[in-house]
Symmetry: C2
């Protein structure tokens, strides 16, 4: 199954942060990509940085013609709008349809979505019929769709959070030498940890070098003596 | 029960839109007020406009000392953070506690929340342990807390959306003379509707005037003739 979010009406001057929140929410709640109808490299870059660090295969893409994109989408298309049918009433039907057809396109817009969109999609779904936020709507829709299972999905990133009742704990996957745990609050502890790792790797390298020197130089010179 | 959202770390230059989304989400998902630690009248004004039109008693307030505000809060305090315990595991316990103690304080911050906050609150709760959005976190937390019932709550506003499979339909409560239904797409229909109402009220007033004239002038002059 592939879940695509189509973000309409991004305004370059005003929407960088909201669009970034939409992308991060899409990623964290189980979508595979966000497609924009306006290119904004600032958003693409900041999402790429997060994905590099926190893992997953999430992508940000771009379409020149969003109406064709909706029409040609192979799967179930769902437009999130406060004017649509209540999510409570329709989510089961949508889940069944997506299980049949495999892919889902979720369309989120700003305040001014063209009226065509309401008629191009399979479903118009409201996360409540009050004005609020496309970020909130996307999060709740995906949470309902996945029944909360999206929140425990593994991303296999360089960093991973260990859930804690108080404070912060992060698992840092140093792919180069080891797996470290450190408490984010304690800078001194973190520095100590890093120094320890450097010394540890350093010692390993020394051992290796000694072994090589011993086997090549020492044995070839004094080997026959002993 | 009273639900307060405390929004920390609002930056005047950057956060107007995100903070507005937080307020709208809080309102739409059943909270009673948002309290800021930084005053921003632009956010307050835009939320007031929405509440005037769409109904409810939602308020935006301000505290000078958010740590005292958390310490003195009479109820259960929940800090939403990606480092906290998974919402899936803890939401039932929180619901039970809030049912006992009546009030709930939900704390949402930006990227840099002071470490004290993690130890001042009763719960640190993660809506997934990936980085995403405080708007998304607040929406999903409230949706889980209310089990989706918040989405069908009535706000008794001047406007109300009629959920529709396609297009938009709005119920406009003209408190002055009548309740009108119009389709938002059709401007001509809306204008016709308004004119019809004006004519209707006009006719009513004419009838009333005629009745008064008949009873006072006509009857007093010609009453005895017939």
């Amino acid at each position: 199954m592939m879940i695509t979010v189509l973000r309409l009406g991004h305004r370059f001057e005003r929407d960088k942060r909201i669009s970034t929140h939409i992308c991060l929410t899409a990623r964290a709640f189980g979508a595979d990509e966000v497609v924009f109808d306006v290119r904004d490299e600032r958003v693409e870059d900041s999402i790429k940085r997060i994905t590099d660090e926190w893992g997953g295969n999430f992508k940000v893409n771009f379409t020149e013609n969003y109406k064709d994109f909706i029409k040609n989408f192979d799967g179930v298309s769902v437009h999130l709008t406060m004017y649509g049918l209540q999510v409570n009433d329709i989510i089961r039907e949508i889940s069944d349809k997506v299980n049949e057809r495999k892919n889902m396109l979720i369309i989120v817009g700003g305040q001014k979505v063209e009226s065509d969109v309401y008629f191009l999609t399979d479903y118009n779904v409201a996360i409540g019929n009050q004005p609020h936020s496309e970020v909130a709507a996307l999060a709740v829709f995906l949470d309902r769709f996945f029944n909360g299972k999206e929140l425990v999905r593994k991303f296999n990133g360089k960093i991973e959070v260990i859930p804690k009742a108080q404070g912060k704990e992060v698992l840092k996957n140093h792919s180069d030498f080891s797996v470290l745990r450190f408490k984010d609050f304690s800078l001194s502890f973190r520095i100590f940890n890093e120094i320890f790792c450097i010394l540890f790797v350093n010692s390993l390298l020394h051992c290796l070098l000694n072994k090589v020197l011993y086997e090549t130089v020492f044995l070839s010179v004094f080997g026959e003596v002993f």
